[in-house]
Amino acid sequence: MANFSTNEFKSGLKVMLDGEPCSILENEFVKPGKGQAFNRVKLRNLRSGRVWDRTFKSGDSLEGADVLDVELEYSYTDGEFFYFMDPVSYDQHAAGADAVGDTQKWLREQEKYEVTLYNGAPITVSPPNFIELEITETDPGLKGDTAQGGSKPATLTTGAVVRVPLFISQGESIRIDTRTGEYVSRASKN
């Protein structure tokens, strides 16, 4: 991979730091009048998601990271790996539980996910902002209770538990905001 100098650091550039693939978030050039110039850089470690603050001497460089964001369809899991497919080339990518992380709660077959590939292998899997999933278990719905206020836990096909209004029944599909993990509405009828 190419090397990138501090003056080429831009938000979104993927670089290697301490052996970890990182995405640059911010890059600030500072110089105390005369003397050594520095770049204060915020980077996100793509594997852990942690944000690092680093100071570099201006002109220092980092190796680029072989990182690619692709949109893949979730296929299935064999219990150990989660398999994603490129809808164009039909290439399969096996993602470990580390890479899938919390997104495991929002996995639905044939749904598209943003997968970050590092050296060709998935390191993170991000869900779409909204996803529709079926309820496998919840207390019986209260007929006619469409008033606001009450809620109850509901277990989804993925095992995730979300709070839903009292009128929602087992077997129904609901729409969830994956960023907050909150119920949005009943699923749209397809």
């Binding site: 003397g35 050594q36 001497k57």
Partner: protein, 316 residues
Amino acid sequence: MTDWRPGANNAIQRQRAALLADLRNYFAQRRVMEVETPLLCRAGVSDPALENFEVPSGQEMRFLQTSPEYAMKRLLAAGSGDIFQICKAFRREEQGVRHNPEYTLLEWYRLGFDHYQLAREVGELVAAVLERPGWQVWSWQGIFQEVLGAGAHCASREDLEELALGNVGDIPLDLDRDGLLDLLMSHCVEPAISGWGIVFIVDYPPSQAALARQILDASGELHGARFECYVDGIELANGYWECGDAAELRARFTSDNLLRRTRGQPERIADEYLLEALTAGLPACAGVALGVDRLLALKSGAKNLDAVLSFGWSRS
């Protein structure tokens, strides 16, 4: 991506025009003569922290000036008296919220002034332009003590690195002593004084004298006779009680080039015109360079330099 419009709006363009007129008026009243010197010269700058843009001309290379300092000192040596200049200056690789590689500089020289007297004049000018009540003066040593709670003037490289690791965290571990002082200045002192209004820092460590003369204080400690002017933590001006000793400056240029060689930077030949002029005799004087774009940004409340430039680096 091709936005042809200016970064500075019309109100700020008018403020710039008025500011330039005010600056010229200020110096006219004080009988300081406006001059012009070339921007594209035969010699570059040896300071390892500065890089010139190089421009080929026939068989030779010319250098866009990082400041008009050398040529203005030749005018002083030729008997110009007090002079000022408003011109463009160029510094490669310096781009950010407060930096544009091409920028407007106000530089002036006062005969018979030392750096304290010139700092006072800068204070009067900046306070008037920005309508601020006054300014503070701190010694370099005093402000480090105040902000970091530790003396830095005589501290070893190792002590400074420990101080920087404790106060900044992740830092490059290959910094020399001056690099660490610069890091502490830009990462700790500058943010700490961002609420202090106009602040002058005077009497730098001798290793950071740049082109200032070296002076001994009452306790026998050596300082660079240099000052910096900060406004709200933003560096605005850098001044020297000028070193007029040709041999001394030649020695500093040589050690600059040694450092350049070890860092893999191109070496820069000394400006022989300047050294000849100093040999002929530079009158005792103090000089200062002030960033006009930053002054305008402070006056107009702009958060970044792009908003006060017609066409900043990304649009030019």
